[in-house]
């Protein structure tokens, strides 16, 4: 009894620490958040005491709800929790019983209700629980490995993607994935990169990216956001990162990306989005404005200027929604997919069990 309490208290401390880091944005950025969440869940599953797997699922789900409430716009967090829940359900029932969920249900209209119910007696249940834990832990560890090595896998494709003497445009200078991608290609290819300033939120990241690229021998040029249309006729590819990929094949990226992609579409310039599977979300964008975080207006117009403060509204969104029509391909760590196929990848990785 007492050991259980101690175990519970320890894990509670970790959880509280994690939540406070999220709240204070000490932990931010989808990669860091995803990794940290996976590691937290690993600890949680190892440390927690549970008799029945359903109670573990319930606890994780409750934890997931709390995390989502703390950082509703950090989709990576929610996705990792969903992945783990899905994983647990898979381990529990062997391979997925239904064939992908949809066609099963169609014929389910006609089938008997009671056909699918499995009745396990208590002994078998305890047996099942004992056996499953190491598999779940292994599964989560695989997930952590996947998340940690994502950028390597994506960068591998870069040499094929970029041609010599091409001009690449990127509207997401803060994306580590894109930077790694370009640096890897730079070893074998000779190309130019145009980086939008992403003023005001991304401008430091833009300078950072251009500096690093220049050091690696790539010609990198900073352009103001307004100049995107003007240069698009010379651009061969738009390569960008994303924070979340949505179930309809659209995605959320840094502010200004939507305009860049719309311009690219008009010029028939292909848009390539680099992303990791843990950024895929089963969410459909019903209400786009609710998904976009708004940043400080002080970045746009100085608060010390009283005329501005009293005179007019200033507005500084941090993200943009890019519709699937403007995207040609998603390069992920498990392959390249068109936006129309994303829903399938989402289904592969998230079942209904993953719903919070």
């Amino acid at each position: 009894m007492s050991s259980q309490n101690r175990g519970d208290r320890e894990i509670d401390i970790f959880v509280e620490q994690f939540i406070s880091q999220l709240k204070r944005r000490q932990l931010s950025g989808s990669h860091a958040v995803a990794l940290a969440t996976a590691q937290l869940l690993l600890r949680f599953v190892s440390a927690a005491r549970w008799n029945h797997i359903d109670s573990l699922v319930k606890d994780i789900r409750a934890l997931g709800v709390r995390l989502v409430q703390t950082a509703p716009k950090e989709i990576a967090c929610r996705n990792i929790v969903s992945r783990v829940l899905t994983l647990i359900r898979e381990e529990q029932h062997g391979h997925k019983a239904e064939n992908g969920g949809l066609s099963g249900s169609m014929l389910g209209l006609l089938e008997k209700n009671d056909k699918k119910e499995e009745v396990l007696d208590k002994a078998a249940l305890r047996q099942a629980n004992r056996d499953i834990r190491p598999y779940i832990i292994e599964g989560i560890q695989d997930l952590i490995d996947e998340v940690a090595n994502i950028e390597e896998n994506i960068a591998k494709m870069s040499v094929d993607e970029i041609h010599d003497n091409q001009i690449i445009l990127t509207p997401t200078p803060a994306s580590e994935t894109v930077l790694l991608f370009l640096l890897k290609a730079a070893r074998k290819r000779n190309f130019t990169v145009l980086v939008t300033e992403g003023f005001p939120n991304q401008i430091d990241a833009a300078h950072n990216m251009v500096e690093k690229l220049t050091k690696a021998g790539v010609e990198a040029i900073i352009i103001p956001d307004a100049a995107v249309y003007a240069v698009m006729s010379k651009v061969g590819r738009v390569i960008m990162g994303t924070s979340t990929v949505l179930a309809n094949g659209g995605c959320l990226s840094s502010a200004g990306s939507a305009l860049v992609c719309a311009t690219a579409t008009q010029h028939s310039t292909p848009v390539v989005v680099l992303t990791a599977i843990y950024k895929l979300s089963p969410v459909y964008p019903f209400d786009v404005p609710s998904m976009i975080e708004i940043g400080s207006s002080a970045q746009v117009a100085d608060y010390s200027d009283s005329e501005i403060v009293e005179g007019f509204q200033v507005f500084n969104p941090l993200a943009d929604y890019v519709p699937p029509e403007d995207i040609q391909i998603y390069n992920t760590n498990i392959g390249e997919f068109s936006p129309a196929f994303i829903y399938r990848i989402v289904l592969d990785h998230y079942s209904d069990a993953g719903n919070l």
């Binding site: 949809l102 209209l109 008997k112 459909y284 829903y343």
Partner: protein, 307 residues
């Protein structure tokens, strides 16, 4: 024993239950056939069902939807016979629970309303074409959830089903403006989104619906407005029309003559009842299985029929 009249049975089911959809009525009719027919081998059983389905499809006008039901049922039977072997038990279950499918399909409408609720937002101006039970259920559900919106309803000539829809919406406290079909272009810029029902969903993800749906979809695409199809999953049909001319209905209109018709509205008899909206004009399908992109529909149909 009197010969089983599949068509009459089907029509009876439709008459008796105003809420039933055509594919479900077809399934019910086929189940009824099963219960009244003795077959000794499964091959004979399949043959009987095939003949009945064919008869139903050819004898009823506008058989698109009921085809979906027949095909679904056939698929189910074949699968059960092949995989499960205990066909007799299954048959018994089907016959015993005749009304089950009708109930389940109505439940589907409820699921659709819940899944689609998030698509209806405050201050929306929604355009709706003709009469659709699923769209009506969805909008009713939204109104019950205190979402404030207004609706343009097209008259939907020549059937004038739109007037029926307008009345139903108004009865539920939803403000409606009834417009003629030709006025959609005039209002489309002010519309937030379009909801449309379906008689059948094709393998490509395109839909067959009341004539006029295609035109509205084209206008919506031009004006950059989302076009959503709201429908049950049991309406997925194994057809892949390539052009409007592929629909038998369209051919009716290619009848040119210099003779003025004797009766007033004889010309109307040549109007088609349905048209086909290709998948590129559809933003998403809101079904009881969830929100699907048109490519999602193709995948599911392929998996169901070709495995």
């Amino acid at each position: 024993m009197a010969k089983f009249d599949i068509k009459e049975t089907y029509l009876r089911f439709l008459r008796d239950d105003p809420d039933i959809t055509m594919p479900v009525a077809a399934i019910e009719a086929l189940v009824q056939l099963l219960s009244e027919t003795e077959t000794s081998t499964s091959a004979e059983l399949i043959q009987t069902l095939k003949e009945a389905s064919a008869e139903l499809k050819t004898s009823v006008d506008n058989s698109m939807s009921l085809s979906a039901g027949c095909d679904l049922f056939m698929r189910f039977v074949l699968r059960n016979i092949r995989e499960y072997g205990d066909w007799e038990a299954c048959k018994g279950h089907l016959v015993k629970n005749g009304r089950l499918f009708a109930e389940r399909s109505k439940a589907a409408r409820k699921t659709i309303s819940e899944k689609g609720l998030a698509f209806v937002r405050d201050d929306d101006v929604i355009l709706v074409h003709s009469f659709s039970r699923t769209v009506l259920a969805l909008l009713e559900h939204a109104a019950k959830n205190l979402v404030r919106f207004r609706v343009f309803v097209t008259e939907a000539a020549p059937s004038d089903q739109g007037k029926r829809m307008a009345k139903a919406l108004r009865e539920r406290g939803i403000p409606v403006s009834l417009i003629v079909d030709n006025a959609v272009g005039s209002v489309i810029d002010e519309v937030s989104k379009v909801f449309c029902g379906a008689e059948g969903v094709a393998e490509s993800g395109g839909v067959i619906n009341h004539v006029g749906s295609y035109q509205i979809a084209v206008l919506a695409k031009n004006a950059n407005k989302p076009f959503y199809v709201v429908t049950e999953s049991h309406k997925f049909v194994r057809i892949f029309p390539l052009a409007q001319a592929d629909l038998p209905d369209t051919k009716k209109m290619f009848h040119f003559t210099v003779e003025e018709p004797e009766e007033q509205n004889a010309d109307k008899g040549l109007s088609p009842v349905v048209d086909f909206t290709p998948h590129d004009y559809i933003t998403a399908l809101i079904t009881d299985l969830g929100v699907l992109t048109p490519s999602g529909v193709s995948e599911e149909l392929i998996k169901m029929w070709y495995e």
